[in-house]
Amino acid sequence: MEKETVTLTIDGKTATVPKGTNVVDAAKSVGIEIPIFCYHEKMLRLGCCRMCLVEVEKMPKLMTACTIDATEGMVVKNDTPKVVKGRQGVLEFTLLNHPLDCPVCDKGGECPLQDNTFNYGAGDTRMEFKRFNNVKKKELSPVITLDRERCIACQRCTTYSEVIEGDQALVMHNRGFHNDIGTFNDQPYDTRFSGNVVDICPVGALTNSIFRFQARTWDLDNAKTLCAHCGCNCNIEFGARENELMRVVSRQNDAVDDGWICDKGRFGYEFVSSKNRILEPGIRKDGEMNVASLDEACDETVSKLKTIIEEHGPKSVGFIGSPFASNEELYLYQKLMRLGVGTNNIDHKSYDDTPGLPVAHYDFTDIESSDLTVLIASDPTEELPILDLRIKKAVTRLNRNLIVLNDQKTLMDKYASLSLRYNVGSDGVALAGLAGAIADSLKQGEAPKVEKLEKTTGIKPNSFKDFAEKMIAAKKVCVIYNPAALTGNSVAIVKNLLSVLNQKPEGECGAIPAAPATNALGAMDMGILPDFYPGGVSLSDDSKIKEVWGESAPTEKGFTTCEMFEKAASGDLKALVVFRSNPIVDFPGGDKIEEALKKVEFLVAHDMLHTETTALAHVVIPSVGPGFDEGTTTNIGGRVQYRRKGLKAESFPDWRVLAKLLSGFEIEAKYLDSFTVTAELAKKVSGYEEIRRGSIQKEGKTRPAQASVNGKTPEVTSPDSIDGFKLRVSEKLFAKDKILESESALAHHFSEPKAILNSVDAKKLGIKSGDRVKVSSGNRGLSVEAEVEDSCNPGAVVVSNAGDEYRVLALIQDHNATVQVSKE
């Protein structure tokens, strides 16, 4: 669809822009700068700072360029004496009470007010009286401090709070001479995205409390890198001074983050200097951990693994990778395991997932162009915050539709035109029911057969029909699903649903697999799977595997993580390499895993921080991790971007550790930097052919979608009826884990886990909100506060994964996640 354009003249230059563009942006497109304060291209046009005054032919007075649309034949003048005088007047007025504390101001050096005054301001002021004094340090939240004297009342931050965040938390009180940026009743402004106001403030009024007075901006070494917290992979600038992290700011990439980052991405990087970091390799001798050199640790790992392989065969060795590591690290690890050790016992997750999609793999920008977004089992607000902003933008500003299918209430429900809630654990049946409803409406496609749909899922067949019809009626549909929140083989059913939907006669559809971890998609692409080689090559594709990986490449299906722990417990798995993963806390049923890990003859932990798992390891190798590492990651939209290092590490980067291990197994590993690994990976992994240093600059590069291999219609198993409650663990953005410790700047967000019960169940058990309840299973019990809210359907309890210390996932001890809830 071609957009209508208009042509106008600005200072004699001709600009052709889409209809609806304002004059500021039109001027920008031909390289003419019109100064602004209040206008921000992602937000409303306010016209309240008056900085962008221009002269427009046939208009009697100066106009604000941000509020007027470019029209056909418009003649704009940006440099007439009238404009110059007007802007000087505006700036003189803006500066009446602005303090001259630039020498100590955090914004100094990158301040639009400084720049505009320098470029457009008068040399002097006519103001003869003293400036108005005001509060210099008003803490809006533990991470944001307001300097009221510096505020020029442009209202960018309040507009951001209203338009982008959508919760109107930050407002302008006492509009007029006494205006004051604040919240309701001076409550803290502590939303998930509050830090962005620091970036958009055009003066030094809103400051980052942690960065405040710590460094001058021009002294920072800024690394243009990626955030490593979630699967969005937002672009950030990592500002360091003398190898110490000073601050993180956003770096606009419209294809990913739209210019925003969440507070975890901005303030959650203290782990780079955590006391809990693993700094030196260690080898356990007679139960004691002894400091070793990296060479010693690698030699020990190689020789022990070789002995075990000789004695028990390669199948007795397993590898648990990390969905948080870079593609390069994961690629090298799978190479080590498959070609060095000779096993396919490789996995990185506790849920079922397979690479590839039967439909197009959509990117973030597709959400904006899709008429309908379908959110399945995903809670973007807590799991993938920028996805949350993207969906909000599509719904509130682009008039797109959102429908939700989930087992728990999320903040996204507010934006949905239809929101269905299936019983916890019945996701397979619900998805099959939806696929069936779509197939019925289309009169083609085959969906798994289900019985007792309403009884099992708690959703009426008619609602499924409405849901299906919305999906069919929309021209472009974007299905976002979270594989990590699905149980059993539900991922296969989602893919079946997608292939059924793909048969609709008109329009198009695509999907985004939205697993929360940083590089979950990359881990799948790099073949950290027991049944797929990198690039989604199935083990059954023998000839392709032999062609790419050589004759000795193993083609027998390996163990999944669950199977590895079972085999470790039974003594069949002798050695396990765990890379940046802490299964004891992060996988369901941690106690059994702990027991299993204790039985492993040789446990190698390659990690960034000390964890429950590294404590059991026989060899510990430090991994430098985000901030220090470099490599590519693949975000949920399939976009491959480059994560630069912002700090110099004292230990070796992971690719060098892996090169040592590979050499130990007589595999050539002459890598010079992470890009040489990328170059090798591009040759071996299908879909990554185009990924190289040059091609992933700027916006990154989307790797082509992989085709899905499972063609058969999957079977659905109804969930068992259980005696007790089904546990649904909900994710928390600011959880007190190893990454955000108790000293974190974000500690004010931490909360104890809560047990959220449906009102029906609560009534039966005689529980009220605020009561203490015990959620227990087996020998595990967790005493928490109850909250009665219909977050999930009756028969289940939602407990938030609020921190490592609570070990919420250890409550899951069977495949139904059965727990008992009792009043204390």
């Binding site: 109107q168 938390a169 009180h173 006492n174 309701f184 009743n185």
Partner: protein, 158 residues
């Protein structure tokens, strides 16, 4: 705890009927006025309640409320005296009359008497210059003020 009275609820129905459902936040000023008439001031609890009714955040309600100086964000007196001190009234001696009233009520300008009966507020033009000096007590205008007439008016207020 704040709650709208039954009479207020009836008025709310009339107010909301004036605005389309998706533009109901336009009813914010009538709601604030209604609340102030009911309670004498707009408490934070009332702002939360208004926000819920109109689908706006309490912060937004507070920001609007704070723009209009005639809404009170603190408990004010039973009788709100708004005393004009603009040019016409000033030329007719409003400053000495305001002083007199302030001493009579034993309250500073801008304050509320200890018995919560009177709040004395200096006001810009009340748009009654032809009969200056002027003051407004709640909804009533009192014009051509003298010390004697002020005494009479105050004594008549129970």
């Amino acid at each position: 705890m704040f709650a709208f009275t039954k009479e207020s609820e009836e008025k709310i129905e009339t107010i909301l009927a004036k605005y389309p459902e998706e533009r109901k936040m336009s009813a914010l000023l009538p709601f604030l006025t209604l609340t102030q008439r009911q309670e004498g001031w707009v408490s934070p609890e009332a702002m939360v309640e208004i926000g819920k009714r109109l689908d706006v955040s309490p912060a937004y309600v507070q920001s609007v409320c704070s723009f209009y100086t005639m809404y009170f964000q603190y408990p004010a007196g039973k009788y709100i005296i708004r005393f004009c001190h603009n040019i016409s009234c000033y030329l007719n001696g409003s400053d000495s009359l305001l002083d007199y009233l302030s001493k009579k009520l034993n309250v500073e300008v801008g304050g509320t008497t200890d018995d919560k009966k009177f709040s004395l507020i200096k006001e810009e033009c009340l748009a009654e210059c032809s009969a200056a000096p002027v003051m407004r007590v709640n909804d009533d205008y009192h014009v051509n003020l003298t010390k004697e007439s002020i005494d009479k008016i105050i004594d008549s207020l129970k």
